[in-house]
């Protein structure tokens, strides 16, 4: 029997795109110890930063369900060639080759453990901010962008409660002056910690309220004050036409000029954060 999950024609960094990837994950969860074809024959476009989420899903499925994945080389042509250049295809095929991006628009996919502080900093400073494609970003903006990612790494270290890695991937769109960057952790997500912490105060019981509570600057930390990291990122997005998406539990929360949220059916674990920065 050949197991195949067919992707639709487009997957973008939004609630619909997230649900498509979650549907792929849930399809695979039904099987163990076999090959599954990721069928991209009908896929015309997918945001390359979403590679972080796709790799997190396949990593977990390989580890826990002993699944193996097949991608047809023929499908990785034209606009989908980006998945060679950012390293996703190398991870799927296990080629162990170093990613080479002659067009220099991708920020390659990479996984980090909590202890990999210097490696994460090096990735953000060298792969992202010294990338030729990001030359147009002003120094002061680069510092703010960099700090935003470090704040998220700190949140991952404190809150995710997992040994599974944090996975990062980005894509620069030079014509649109836009940088899309995604960080995926496979930890406990926002709701579990916040529900426990607020059980005698704010009594948060759903993911929308949990994310809103965190973004307003509240924190479950008990050994220090804080909680200002996420709200600073949101403030920077408000001031600089940025977009900020947080996906955790069954909520796709997004700031895109205004706040909205979408319910996710049968969600993936942990938390996914997309930051989309515009620069002039």
């Amino acid at each position: 029997m050949t197991l195949t999950f067919k992707f639709p024609s487009e997957v973008r960094t939004d609630a619909k795109g997230n649900q498509i990837l979650v549907n792929f994950y849930n399809y695979c969860l039904a099987f163990t110890g076999c090959w599954i074809t990721i069928d991209w024959s009908g896929l015309n476009y997918m945001d390359a930063n979403l590679s972080a989420l796709l790799l997190a899903m396949t990593y977990k499925l390989k580890k826990e369900r002993d699944l193996k994945f097949f991608l047809n080389y023929q499908d990785l042509k034209g606009p989908l060639n980006v998945f060679w250049r950012n390293g996703l295809a190398h991870h799927i095929y296990k080629t162990n080759k170093k990613t080479i991006d002659e067009r220099e628009s991708t920020i390659p996919i990479k996984a980090f453990k909590v202890a990999d502080v210097d490696s994460f900093v090096n990735y953000i400073e060298k792969e992202l901010l010294k990338h030729r494609g990001s030359d147009a970003i002003k120094f002061s903006d680069k510092e703010k962008v960099k700090n935003s990612y470090f704040e998220i790494f700190n949140n991952y270290e404190i809150h995710s409660k997992t040994d599974l890695p944090l996975i990062a991937c980005g894509q620069l769109f030079p014509k649109q002056n836009e940088l899309k960057f995604t960080l995926v952790d496979m930890g406990v997500g926002f709701l579990k910690n916040i529900k426990e912490y607020t059980k005698s105060t704010d009594k948060i019981t759903d993911a929308v309220d949990a994310i809103s509570w965190a973004i307003k600057g509240n924190s479950t930390k008990t050994d220090a004050s804080g909680g200002t990291g996420l709200k600073k990122i949101l403030f920077y997005c408000i001031k600089n036409n940025g977009k900020f998406h947080i996906i955790s539990d069954d909520c796709y929360w997004q700031y895109d000029e205004s706040i909205s949220h979408t319910k996710i059916n049968n969600p993936f674990i942990g938390a996914t954060i997309h930051l989309i920065f515009k620069y002039s």
Partner: protein, 112 residues
Amino acid sequence: MTTINIAQLIGTPNAIIQKFGLQVFEETKNVIAKGDNVELYFGDLSNTTTGFFHASIGNLFKNYGNRFNTLITVSGIEKKEDWKEKFEEAINLVENPKQATEIDSAISKLFE
């Protein structure tokens, strides 16, 4: 006066996680408990986060209150524009946890 070189203490110039802030908090307390004052030297750091400042400076201010300024001095913090801001924010959050800032006002409007 004992100088604590933060980068040397935490073993990296990247003070971006809370754990490193807690290390600074504990080491500073140990020195003060022995009767000495502390100079915290930031100059060999390259990166910091608010989480690091809350766990180090925020906790020290919470612990020593008004004695903070006589027991602890800081140097090298002028290396980056936003470090002093994060330092002051960590102290303000302990002094006035409910004080609304410009950021809070902007975010509150989004939820109206």
